[in-house]
């Protein structure tokens, strides 16, 4: 077969960064400053990355706003809240590193031009956030991700750092036990490119879209985790998936906690306020996981509305208060559900929100494969453990984007310039594979299979889990994986073939779904976001450990790794 026919080119850079969200851009800036040659590859224009959607803010113990009794915040208290929030599954050395660096990181963005909201005294404003003992979350109105992403994009663009935009990475290339680059489809032309580099940094974000109800961007399909797995790098704690209680029915766009903070209440289809029953003290303002479970229970017991939602009622707040305090929420409800919260309640349901697990890395961001690194939501350095606190993930992206780039800068002298041959042959492999996929007989509808999987994941691996249904779910996932070899796009053009791209995403998503399923089935306890009705309690004796799942001879292998404690001993998590 004339496999080399559509090879456009092979590119060399010292460092390839895959992903153009906050993590990737911050790393790019660091690489550029170090004088190394680097390039950033992203399947969308960097500004279209999911990071742009983050609303609430970024945690750092600046101490600009005093806590109760005028107390002042510090990194240790930030670390404590983070570890407690993680239900003690976070690695405490990584948490320490993050919390110590947090303050400098917020300042750093400010110095680059990010427009933060301000206090009367001109300092960066901070607000209280769930699970935090201090008003610690620095914010830019409800557009923190947007402001930070634009700032970093401006900085990197200013360095003339090379971007390969709308390049979909298809594989990582290995040679002599080392990662030496990757392959990618240039989406607009359909051509396959090869990238050779001494180091590759994964900054590919989360996998929220394996669930049909998700607040994530549609592009969050977990490609990076699947690529790493395929390259023999294990994934960590993938069963820990955060669900947000209030997402807009229909599109699952986030309706921030602020709505309940301002006095919004949840009502079931019988017109009854139900949170009193589940959380008599904090009622509608109970922690995210508690509220999410309560809503889901109401729906399952038949007290939701048709289609599976409840009402978030703000009408009693009155038009002035809504217009002043919750204009963004109102706009979203009107634009995306055609509902004006001043006049009627907003239909909401819980939805997937964040992927705590990811590519297994050590505290420096290195994977077990020399030359391959990971940071941000795609990685699991384990600062979030079993449950992430709001405002900690933006922080993670910017800090570890920089620190892991530093690791690469340090390591890179040990790496020789790689051979070109393995990259060329990887390009050929991808071409061969795509020809094979495109040459298949017309099969089932790719999108139908995707819908089936995402629905299954929410139903069987969602907010409530139990051994029996999960085992059934796993079988269905395996069946769907078998179906993959019968799928093919009807469109046979290679240029701008978004169906082909979605097919390739789906392959990875199903693998990730299987990893989530296996991790969840084996973890016979409830911890953080992982709630098992058949094992409702946390079990530190058997499960205070990280799940590590890797691919060996095409089979998923489960191992465990100890959690790094040190600062705080595990206690019961009560709020």
């Amino acid at each position: 077969m004339g496999v080399a026919s559509t090879v456009e080119s092979i590119h060399y850079h010292d460092v390839i960064i895959i992903g153009g969200g906050l993590t990737g851009l911050r790393a790019a800036l660091q690489i550029s400053n170090s004088g190394l040659s680097g390039a950033l590859v992203s399947k969308v224009h960097p500004l279209r990355s999911h990071s742009v959607a983050a609303q609430g803010g970024m945690n750092a113990s600046l101490g600009n706003v005093p806590g109760d009794d005028g107390a002042s915040d510090d990194w240790k208290m930030h670390a404590y809240d983070t570890v407690k929030g993680s239900d003690y599954l976070a690695d405490q050395d990584a948490v320490e590193k993050m919390c110590r660096e947090a303050v400098a990181t917020v300042y750093e963005l400010e110095h680059m031009g990010t427009v933060w909201s301000r206090l009367e005294n001109g300092k960066i404003a901070q607000r209280p956030f769930g699970g935090a003992g201090f008003p610690r979350t620095c914010y830019a109105a409800d557009r923190t991700g947007h402001n930070a992403l634009h700032t970093l994009y401006e900085q990197v663009l200013n360095k003339n750092f090379p971007f390969y935009e709308e390049f979909f990475v298809t594989s990582l290339v290995k040679d002599k036990g080392r990662c030496i680059g990757c392959t990618a489809i240039e989406i607009m032309t359909g051509k396959i490119h090869g990238f050779i580099s001494k180091a590759v940094l994964m900054a590919t974000g989360g996998f929220g879209r394996i669930f049909n109800r998700s607040t994530n961007a549609l592009i969050n399909t977990g490609d990076g985790q699947a690529l790493a797995l395929e390259a023999g790098v294990p994934l960590k704690d993938m069963e820990f998936v955060q669900f947000h209680p209030t997402t807009l029915y229909g599109t699952n766009i986030l309706m921030s906690e602020g709505a309940r903070g301002e006095g919004g209440i949840l009502i079931n289809s019988q017109g009854k306020r139900f949170m009193e029953k589940y959380a008599p003290n904090s009622v509608d303002l109970a922690p995210r996981d508690v509220v999410a479970r309560s809503i889901e229970q109401e729906i399952r017991e038949g007290r939701g509305y048709d289609g599976g939602y409840v009402h978030l009622d703000l009408t009693h707040l009155g038009s002035d208060r809504i217009m002043e305090r919750l204009p963004g929420i109102r706009q979203i409800a009107m634009d995306f559900a055609g509902v004006d919260p001043i006049k009627e309640p907003v239909p909401v349901q819980p939805g997937q929100h964040y992927s705590m697990g990811g590519i297994d890395v050590d505290i420096n961001g290195s994977t077990i494969l020399p030359g391959l690194y990971a940071a941000g939501e795609c990685a699991c350095i384990s600062v979030h453990g079993a449950n992430r606190l709001g405002g900690n993930s933006l922080l993670e992206t910017v800090i570890f984007g920089r620190l892991v780039a530093d690791t690469i800068i340090k390591d890179i002298n040990n790496f020789q310039i790689p051979d070109i041959l393995p990259v060329e042959s990887a390009v050929n492999d991808v071409e061969f594979k795509i020809k094979e996929v495109m040459g298949r007989e017309k099969g089932a509808n790719i999108f139908d299979v995707k819908d089936e999987m995402t629905e299954l994941m929410f139903q069987k691996f969602g907010i409530f889990r139990n051994g029996q249904t999960m085992k059934k779910g796993l079988n269905e996932i395996l069946k769907m994986e078998n179906k993959l070899s019968e799928l093919t796009p009807n469109n046979k053009d290679l240029a701008v073939n978004q169906t082909l791209i979605q097919f390739l995403e789906l392959e990875g998503m199903l693998k990730i779904a299987e990893v989530v399923a296996r991790g969840a089935i084996k973890r016979k306890e409830s911890r953080g976001s992982h709630m098992r009705t058949d094992h409702p309690d946390r079990d530190d004796k058997n499960f205070l450990k990280h799940t590590i799942i890797g691919l060996e001879d095409n089979n998923l292998n489960i191992n465990y790794k100890p959690v790094t404690l040190g600062m705080f001993e595990p206690k019961e998590r009560v709020y």
Partner: protein, 254 residues
């Protein structure tokens, strides 16, 4: 109801329009309709998407002859005629495409940028013009230890401009970008103004001079389409008017 979609790919002499029938469920957006088209009618359709929540700026297209975000536009409200936006005329919206606006929604690519395929345009030029205005923070002083202080009252005006999501809806709505393909366009100028008014910058008028050129501040004729189509209420017109005022004042002072 139906959606009528512009189709074009390399090698076609002229674009064609495909019509697809669908159920306008409440809450259905144009982006949702396009996904239905892809899933149930023709999987070769090409369109940009990412956040589906009107924040990433990737899905601007011409919908019923108005540049809008596909993910933010409700199909039902278009059919009710609620979403009519009067615009100063330019070529792309004057073209005579037959469509029944009670029954159909017309979806076409964003004007003033070359079409790559179907609803995907090449944003290269838009980002090139953006880069021309040197969009990077240039602080007046050396880096302090902590944050630079900012008067909270200075934030609302800045936010008007930092809110831009670089979707290019304004670029595709601007009659000047239609007649003068070199014109930097509303978004780039608004971005430049954002840096100019940042109190932490003190390059003052020098910033504005970057666009003190025919294809910059002076090209605008205040049609105002940009403001009307902007999904984030960014007011490029105000930026342009104020910049001109500053530059004229400086000219007199000299």
């Amino acid at each position: 109801m139906k959606i009528k979609v512009y189709r074009y790919h390399d090698g076609m002499k002229n674009p064609r329009y495909d019509t697809f029938e669908l159920e306008p469920k409440p809450g259905l957006t144009i982006l949702g309709a396009l996904f239905q088209f892809q899933q149930n009618f023709d999987d070769s359709i090409a369109f940009h998407y990412s956040c589906r929540g009107a924040v990433c700026g990737t899905c601007a297209m011409l919908i019923n002859k108005v540049p809008r975000l596909a993910c933010r536009t409700q199909v039902a409200s278009l059919l009710n005629g609620d979403l009519k936006i009067p615009l100063s005329p330019y070529h792309a919206i004057e073209e005579n495409i037959e469509w029944d606006n009670k029954e159909e929604v017309l979806i076409e690519p964003l004007p003033h940028l070359p079409v790559i395929k179907d609803l995907i345009v090449d944003m290269g030029k838009f980002f090139e013009y953006y880069k021309d205005i040197e969009p990077v923070f240039k602080p007046a002083d050396s880096t302090p230890e902590k944050e630079r202080l900012m008067d909270p009252d200075s934030i609302p005006e800045l936010e008007l401009y930092t809110n831009c999501i670089l979707c290019a809806a304004c670029f595709g709505s601007c009659p000047i970008d239609d007649s003068d393909p070199e014109y930097l366009g509303p978004a780039a100028l608004a971005k430049l103004y954002r840096f100019y008014i940042d109190p932490r910058e003190e390059n003052g008028i020098e910033r504005l001079k970057i666009a003190d050129i025919p294809r910059g501040w002076w090209d605008c004729k205040f049609h105002g389409n940009c403001r009307r189509v902007c999904p984030k209420d960014v007011p490029p017109l105000i930026a342009i008017a104020k910049a001109r005022e500053q530059l004229e004042k400086e000219g007199e002072d000299r």
